[in-house]
Assembly symmetry: C2
Homo-oligomer: 197 residues x 2
DNA sequence: GTCTATATTCCGATAGAC
DNA sequence: GTCTATCGGAATATAGAC
């Protein structure tokens, strides 16, 4: 019978690493910060994970999957129509991003810096999807990638822009949450309108 | 008569700093990289700018203005209607971002990390703008900030998502440029559709 | 103004005791 | 497995000659 109330040392380190890396990025993170946040000693970090880089890669892989893994089940759902798929995506993402507001900036910024390289060929996964078929049937002229930029932009961009908007006095934390809750119902409507124009 | 072909040392450092900071972020940048990129010695950097932080702040201020300064002239243009304003914004941003594709990720990521704090109260600048009036007249129910998230998301997000999309094999450099050129004409249509729905 | 050399702090990683 | 102590290198910043 495993103890439930206390995580293993390895997991404590990883959980601390998730927080610190996401907040400060790879270069801004010091392994000492992670150790302190985990309540353990610096040496243990290198005992469990060989290096800062290795630990980062484990965390980063999780985060990439967390950010983009939501898509494929929806893309391949053959029981829902287009507008229902937009609802699913809006709801799944807004739920997850309200819990993890700094995730997109972290992942996209680190991918841009090349600190992490994975080769996941999604091109065919997307072009063969049910969603791609439904889009093509609805509007054969639009490029699916063009549309995907728009859909994801509508969902994800507010979370990326929020720190700037806050500094400029354009929104507060509670206002932002309300805006995102309202956005759930707006995004499917907007995405449909975009697709038909 | 000033020489035109050779920039001053101070400007050479600053120009190098713009490149390196934008590429690697504040924490990932070493002052040695900037010095080497500028073709000068490390000591000169501290001679002209007191510290890495000071130099960063000067660069960052420029970049924030470059990213958000495009908006106010359009917001206060009383000679254009809504759809024309959307056209202006799409064209200005896409021109600028094709020249500076890494600018948004850099600025928004560094603002999120709190490496830079400016207090620019834009709240009133926006709510008092001609654009805000025109939006309210067109659709009194939509929150202007909600709409601004959408408009900027449509324009800016592709540039933030591009590195990920490239790694996933969803786009190439030349494909991306074509998509963005097509996007100029699409965004005004989409923004209008969003506003009316 | 510009350089070389160096002071000083910081950080990732390891040695070695328990 | 976990800790303390420390090594070795890297990074910012400055001293001082020219």
């Amino acid at each position: 019978m495993k103890k439930l109330k206390e995580a293993s040392t390895e997991e404590k380190i990883k959980e601390a690493a998730r927080r610190v890396f996401t907040e400060k990025g790879y270069s801004g993170t010091r392994t000492r910060d992670i150790a302190q946040e985990a309540g353990i000693n610096l040496a243990l970090l290198n005992y469990y994970f060989r290096s800062k880089q290795k630990l980062f890669e484990e965390v980063m892989l999780e985060k990439v999957i967390k950010l983009f893994g939501l898509l494929s089940p929806v893309f391949y759902n053959s029981d829902s129509n287009l507008e229902e798929k937009f609802e699913e995506i809006a709801n799944l993402y807004i739920d997850m991003l309200l819990e993890n507001p700094t995730l997109p900036t972290f992942v996209l910024s680190e991918l841009a810096k090349g600190h992490f390289a994975i080769e996941i060929p999604l091109k065919e996964m997307i072009t063969n999807s049910v969603l791609a078929d439904q889009i093509k049937k609805q509007n054969p002229d639009i490029d699916p990638i063009q549309f995907l930029f728009s859909l994801l932009g509508l969902v994800v961009f507010p979370f990326i822009g929020k720190p700037a908007f806050r500094q400029f006095g354009l929104t507060t934390e509670t206002d932002f949450t309300k805006l995102m809750q309202a956005r759930r119902r707006l995004i499917p409507v907007w995405a449909t309108a975009i697709l038909h124009s």
